[in-house]
């Protein structure tokens, strides 16, 4: 059963990794604007002139 020590260590480490990833995302401004990307993704680089008419 001592494998539990190892497993718990792994799980905490993994969770810490995710927490760190979240911190990094927060710091790099990925969560500053949560709305505009949802519109930007619908814009093509060169849409047809007659589209959506």
């Amino acid at each position: 059963m001592s494998i539990i020590y190892f497993l718990i260590g792994c799980s905490v480490l993994l969770a810490l990794l995710f927490l760190g990833a979240f911190f990094w995302a927060q710091r790099s401004g990925q969560n500053d604007d949560l709305y505009t990307p949802s519109m930007r993704i619908l814009l093509d680089d060169e849409p047809e002139e007659e589209e959506k008419k």
Binding site: M1, I4, Y5, I8, S11, V12, A15, L16, F18, L19, F22, F23, Q26, N31, D32, D33, Y35, T36, M39, R40, L42, L43, E46, P47, E48, E49, E50, E51, K52, K53
Partner: protein, 797 residues
């Protein structure tokens, strides 16, 4: 009203407005105005025609004359607006109210095609901001702003860049704290499960391992996530105030200490899960309470209404831009059409027709003669004028208002919220019960006494109570938000419920600013119409312009003589007829028309023969019947800066004794103060700078506006003009909301009583605490949101 138009409805290709009188064709497309056509030609020449492919009519109408941006060439002004600059490139963020669709995003992020010097532009849609980086060598702030204006996205540049500040200001790491708390809470829950399910005796080593791990997870909770509660409790204690943070901080501390004690002495498993869960839920509640409207600002003052700089002419007659703060007495300033006069000044040159509607509430532009003092805040309509400054900006008639104490005092002496009031008694009772159980057990069993004491503090920790207000209020806020009523923060809902007196402003509040209703009284045949139209077309007087607008499309006849007597009227000779248009005194013909006395009037006369008159009235907002409805329950006042010529028309809505006219901004503030000194809870509804003092002084100031992106004075709430008729519903709804808070308080109290019955005996098991706390939290959250939405449905919101 108008000539039956043979044009079918044509929509401008750029902005989608109806092309009414004359439309301009270009490229087989139709445009409503020159501005829109310009924008189209700029875009199509640069290969940005796709702008029109994403949405139909994506543009904003551009028939207004854009302001001049020359002042941006002044390094001192530019420095304040730029985020970052070095010798290579400059970063600047603009607030552009016109951003409204995906085409806007597309165009503004392709600025590079229009100006290669701009190599980065990024739009934040909700904040209506665009972040631009450009090459210093090839471009400048001035040319960038010019470019934005040319394509129809005029940035709003004001001295008080509130919206920008808002985004910078809020950095208290709440999101990070929640992340850490969630991380600890999740892990602790997982590690606590074996304890709940029972650990067999031969696995006791695990128990200790889990215990220490749990304790380790509690450390960041205490040292990082929960610090605000300790700090706030301590600060309040020093001020001898017992607020809700005190029992919360006490609960968190006791939970941690007892956990540490039990784990370190191998005495039990402690309450690590409850501790983490408590802080996690509390922080969530804090997040919910904080609602930000990125596109609204509640803190605006005159500085965001006034221009950034003015044109000053020096002795040699050369013009240059000077920042507003550096304007000195004696300087000569040049104000062009549609610009705002920033300081009290004497008119030196030009024909001043100043629109003071935003400052005084007076709706008709005022003619000023040379040598007269023009007060700051007015907007010149017509030709450019020259003035000499007599008072610096901060000492001017209007801006002096901001020196009043109402603007410097903190918001704290407003209505106390329910949770503030109740938490004091709650804390006292809690401490009494805790010490009572301590002293009850102390003579017999020391350990049990300590256990009971801590258990009481843990179980009665007002987590549910602390959450009931934020969750109810945020639900209420989002409902009001959908109904075009935007509140500054959650506490405003409770203030709304306690109001007993309502004070309305007139111009712009119960009337629609800039929408005057002009009615013709008397019969006018088509030829007379032509005569009168031709006469008025000669004059630049605002009233003449209104008449011309009314008869728009009439063909104009040649005039062979024309004269204008300022303040009286105009007369013209056309086709051997003498046409006279003007005030009642001006038209001396013996007519017996009774003055309607409910607005401004213009009398018409041809060949000394009285024809009729125009009455010009401000147009009232729809749904003003609600004021009658409100008068039954509330004291309703009307406070106007305008003259009383609409008194009679308004007396159907307001009690004539409770209408007050010709009130200066300072009078308005004092009026509110006077009401408050008589114990009234006053709500002020206004729109202009002249109401700013009253809005600030009142218990609840609501700024009403037709376009939430426009300037609105600092206030507690912003109401869209279309939602004014829902005011009674808002009142009833806010009262319901407060009842929801009372109910949820009772629910959380009953949970506390159940928990306390275990706690006082000193036999609180961690499992019960771990179940009770989240259970009460979930009950409160679901109860408040369901009840609030039901209340909204009942009020048809």
């Amino acid at each position: 009203m108008k000539d039956s138009s043979i044009l079918q409805k044509l929509h401008c290709y750029h902005c989608g407005n109806d092309c009414e009188a004359e439309y301009l064709g270009f490229d087989d497309k139709v445009f409503c105005c020159n501005g829109c056509r310009e924008v189209y030609s700029v875009l199509s020449q640069s290969g940005l025609g796709n702008y029109y492919a994403y949405n139909q009519h994506p543009g904003a109408t551009k028939d207004k004359i854009s302001p001049r941006f020359e002042y941006l060439k002044e390094p001192a002004i530019a420095r304040d607006l730029i985020d970052y600059t070095d010798d290579k490139f400059t970063i600047v963020t603009f607030y552009i109210p016109a951003i409204h669709c995906s085409s806007c995003i597309w165009l503004l992020e392709h600025l590079n095609k229009l100006d290669p010097a701009i190599y980065y532009s990024r739009v934040d849609f909700l904040r209506k901001q665009v972040n631009i980086r450009f090459d210093n060598q090839l471009s400048s702030l001035y040319s960038t702003v010019q470019l934005l204006d040319r394509i129809g996205y005029e940035p709003l540049i004001s001295l008080q860049d509130v919206i920008k500040k808002q985004t910078v200001g809020k950095k208290d790491n709440l999101i990070k704290k929640i992340a850490v708390a969630g991380f600890c809470f999740g892990n602790v829950m997982l590690l606590s499960f074996p304890e709940y399910l029972g650990i067999s005796s031969y696995e006791q080593s695990f128990r200790q391992f889990f215990g220490f791990l749990n304790l380790a997870f509690c450390l960041p909770i205490i040292l990082y996530c929960g610090t605000d509660y300790f700090r706030s409790a301590w600060a309040n204690l020093k001020n001898r105030v017992l607020n809700i943070d005190f029992p919360l901080a006490l609960g968190i501390a006791v939970l941690f200490l007892r956990t540490a004690f039990e784990v370190l002495t191998h005495n039990g498993s402690g309450f690590a899960d409850t501790c983490c869960g408590l802080v996690f839920f509390l922080l969530i509640g804090k997040l919910v309470q904080r609602k930000t409207y990125y596109h609204l600002s509640f803190e605006r003052d005159y500085r965001s209404f006034f221009p950034v700089a003015v044109q000053v002419t020096d002795v040699k007659g050369t013009e240059h831009s000077v920042p507003l703060a550096e304007i000195k007495v004696g300087q000569r300033i040049l104000i062009r059409n549609n610009e705002i006069i920033p300081a009290d000044a004497i008119l030196l040159k030009g024909d001043a027709k100043v629109d003071f509607s935003f400052v005084t509430g007076e709706s008709v532009p005022v003619n000023k003669v040379l040598g007269e003092v023009v007060y700051a805040g007015g907007r010149q309509t017509g030709e450019a004028i020259e003035l000499e400054v007599v008072k610096p900006v901060s000492q001017s008639y209007l801006t002096r208002l901001w020196n009043n104490e109402a603007f410097t005092r903190t918001q704290e002496n407003r209505t106390k919220t329910f949770s503030e009031k109740v938490s004091k008694y709650f804390t006292i009772v809690l401490l009494l019960v805790a010490f009572g159980s301590l002293f009850f057990w102390l003579p017999t069993d020391f350990h049990r006494a300590l256990a009971a004491f801590t258990a009481v503090l843990i179980i009665a920790c007002p987590c549910a109570l602390a959450l009931s207000t934020p969750f109810t209020m945020s639900a209420a806020l989002s409902i009001l938000d959908k109904n075009l009523f935007y509140l500054k923060n959650t506490a405003v809902v409770e203030q709304l419920a306690h109001i007993d007196t309502i004070v309305f402003d007139k111009t712009g509040t119960i009337t629609i600013a800039g929408a005057d209703k002009i009615t013709l009284h008397g019969a006018v045949n088509p030829y007379q119409k032509q005569l009168l139209y031709s006469t008025c077309a000669n004059s630049a007087h605002p009233l003449s312009r209104l008449i011309c607008q009314y008869w728009e499309g009439t063909s104009r006849l040649g005039t062979h003589s024309y004269s204008e007597i300022p303040g009286m009227g105009i007369s013209a000779g056309i086709d051997s007829h003498l046409v006279e248009v003007g005030s009642r005194l001006f038209i001396k013909g013996g007519f017996a028309a009774k003055s309607a006395a409910d607005g401004t009037e213009v009398y018409l006369q041809i060949d000394h023969q009285y024809i009729g008159y125009f009455s010009i009235r401000q147009q009232y907002r729809e749904g003003l019947e609600i004021i009658n409805e409100l008068s039954n329950k509330y004291n309703v006042f009307l406070l106007s800066g305008d003259h009383g010529h609409e008194r009679d028309a308004l007396s159907t809505i307001f009690n004539p004794d409770l209408m007050f006219f010709e009130r200066s901004p300072q009078d308005k503030l004092d009026f509110i103060k006077n009401l408050q000194s008589r114990g009234r809870k006053v709500m002020m509804i206004g729109d202009g700078l002249n109401d700013a003092g009253a809005l600030k002084q009142s218990d609840l100031g609501i700024a009403i506006t037709d376009n939430v992106n426009n300037f609105s004075p600092g206030s507690d709430a912003i109401l869209d003009g279309r939602a004014l008729s829902r005011l009674p519903q808002f009142f009833k709804f806010s009262k319901n909301t407060v009842s929801v808070i009372y109910c949820s308080f009772c629910i959380s109290l009953s949970y506390n009583v159940v928990g306390l019955s275990y706690a006082v005996s000193g036999r609180l098991s961690p499992l019960i605490a771990a179940i009770l706390m989240p259970l009460s939290t979930v009950t409160i959250i679901s109860f408040t949101s369901i009840a609030t939405h039901l209340a909204a449905k009942r009020r048809k919101l």
